[in-house]
């Protein structure tokens, strides 16, 4: 439309000075918080990247590598649950596609870096195609259809992986060699860290794009989004495709650290992992998913270590249940969400209400 937007006729085009100063200050505040975020993330990245130089604790590397990989998986789930408001019960299928794709490529062909890259790309393409298919089939219906259909497809892939023994060796799975440079724990650790950073930046950019802002509008009020002139289905499909492709990356990395793949990558437990990490960390923030992955993996490790103290700790799933209940009670909007609202209410208390901000 070429027509200029509606302008207040009775008022001059420029807002009054007082209002502008408030606006200026507010946007400066927003800019500052975004800058704080960038500084914290960069600092964290540098610290973690420097870790191999100061420590060679094998168990720490393994733990953190695992956190990075599952954080990617949880972030991809957050894109659906936290940003678009879509519930998926079969997110593991995208994880599994990446896992099997990398496992098969590296076992059937030469275990080289280009081959690894190719396998990751193939996994992403497969996951994107499958999530597109599931999305087209179910996303124009009510939201629970997507949940059910993803559950069904994940089940289908699990059975396929079990039965197609000539390709997958069934639930026994198979081991494979990984590219020579990645056999070093520290190198693999850095690769996973860099992947996490890259996926985080890409997804953050995606969620803050015009398309991403519409996803959040859909989460908030689907009907209103449509009445603003947005067609809902393509947005949901876009979210589903990007989430699927990102989940596939984490699956590829996961089997790379194990040098082994079997059907558990398609299991319901994988999906539940993503769900728990996202909710415990805080939905709709991306970094919440990273926090959630760290908390869950660390708790898992702690409980496994405690199994030596008393055998009850071997039943770590019981304690996960308890942890989940506690977190939901204490952090109703996840660790990230609740801390953010604490911070903002603290800031408000410290700075008494700006009189200029009141309405005339």
């Amino acid at each position: 439309m070429s027509r200029t937007p509606l302008q207040p006729r009775s008022e001059p085009a420029a807002p009054p000075k007082r209002a502008r100063s408030v606006m200026g200050r507010l946007s400066a505040l927003q800019g500052r918080s975004s800058r704080t975020h960038n500084v914290v993330v960069l600092l964290l990245f540098v610290l973690l990247a420097a870790l191999p130089a100061v420590s060679d604790s094998r168990s720490l590397f393994i733990l953190l590598t695992q956190v990075f990989i599952l954080a990617v998986f949880a972030m991809s789930y957050d894109l659906l649950l936290g940003f678009t408001g879509i519930v998926s019960f079969g997110h593991a299928m995208f994880f599994g596609l990446g896992a099997y794709s990398t496992g098969l490529f590296l076992s059937r062909f030469e275990a080289t870096l280009p081959m690894l890259l190719l396998s990751v790309i193939a996994g992403m393409a497969l996951a994107a195609a499958l999530s597109y298919l599931v999305g087209v089939l179910s996303l124009r219906l009510k939201s629970h259809f997507y949940a059910m259909l993803t559950l069904a497809f994940a089940g289908l892939l699990l059975v396929a992986a079990e039965k197609w023994r000539s390709l997958t060796k069934g639930s026994d799975g198979f081991t494979f060699a990984i590219p020579e440079p990645l056999k070093d724990r520290a190198t693999l650790y850095l690769v996973c860290l860099c992947t996490l950073a890259a996926v985080y930046v890409a997804l953050r950019r995606f969620t803050r794009s015009p398309l991403g802002s519409v996803l959040q509008a859909i989460r908030e009020n689907e009907q209103r989004t449509e009445s603003l002139g947005y067609r809902i289905v393509p947005y949901k499909i876009a979210a589903s495709v990007v989430a699927g492709a990102a989940a596939s990356i984490s699956g590829s990395l996961y089997v790379l650290t194990l040098r082994f793949v079997n059907t558990t990558v398609f299991s319901m437990d994988m999906t539940l992992n993503a769900l728990l990490m996202t909710i415990i960390g805080g939905v709709g923030t991306l970094y919440g998913a990273v926090i959630g992955a760290a908390v869950i993996e660390w708790a898992h490790q702690l409980l496994t270590d405690l199994a030596g103290v008393h055998p009850i700790f071997e039943r770590w799933i019981i304690f996960f249940g308890l942890l989940y209940i506690v977190v939901v009670l204490v952090f109703p909007s996840g660790i990230a969400g609740t801390c953010a609202s604490w911070l903002s209410s603290m800031r408000r208390r410290r700075q008494p209400e700006d009189p200029e901000e009141e309405r005339p």
Binding site: M1, R3, P5, L6, Q7, P8, R9, S10, E11, A13, P15, A19, V22, M23, L26, L29, Q30, R205, F206, R208, S209, P210, L211, G212, S213, V214, Q216, A217, E220, N221, Q223, R224, T225, E226, S227, L228, G229, Y230, R231, I232, P234, A238, V242, E357, E358, R359, P360
Partner: protein, 266 residues
Amino acid sequence: MNSAKAARSAAPPILETDRLTVAFGGHAAVREVSLAVTDRSFLSIIGPNGAGKTTLFNLLSGQLKPTSGRITYKGMDITGLPSYERTRRGIGRSFQLTHVFPRLSVLENIRLAVQSRAGVRYDFFSSLRRHRKFEAEAESLLELMRLTGKRNSPAIQLAHGEKRKLEIAMLLALDSDLLLLDEPTAGISLEEVPAILEVIRDVKRQGSRTIVLIEHKMEMVLDLSDEIAVLYQGELLAHGTPAAIMGNETVQSAYLGGWYDDAAEA
């Protein structure tokens, strides 16, 4: 009933309904309504509660599909078009019950409307400069609706009257040719009504848009309208100039008598 239509028939109607009917179960909420809205005119729809005013809006904006009948907009049959297509073609609508994005900031609520009007839909790799342009436009609408102080609050934290103002700001951001306003002043405190009225008057004064208003406040209706349509139990009872409607005996006996009871309740 058609006396007013004849007076304005020189200009072609921008919107026309032909025996528009929607039934829920056996109950026809809107029955055989044939209504023509003159281009760039101001039409008010009045009628007692439950007369089918909002249902008619839902049919016009595409939230509901009619059981029978046709809707023509700018000479095109839009009866089967989904609501987003109608919005893109220039039919904008505000809702009677506040219908905003609760956990998004007030600015973001408006920015989304600006972005849609600009046709930026599938850009997934943001250009921040573009964002800023939308933001600036959203800011000027905030200023217009005197909501600047609430710029960064989530919409859920607004008072009811402020939500209504946000609702109107979002509608203005869409820059539609046809504005459907569903009780824009409902639930707004008396001292805030003039500000909203001024905005509506302003849009009318610009003269480039068609406005259809659902309203209960008769003085406001009489002041703003070129034409008035009266709905009663889902049917179009009368349609004409304000003077003709006020002098219409059927309207007087069937509705305006009951009108004052209705106003007293509210």
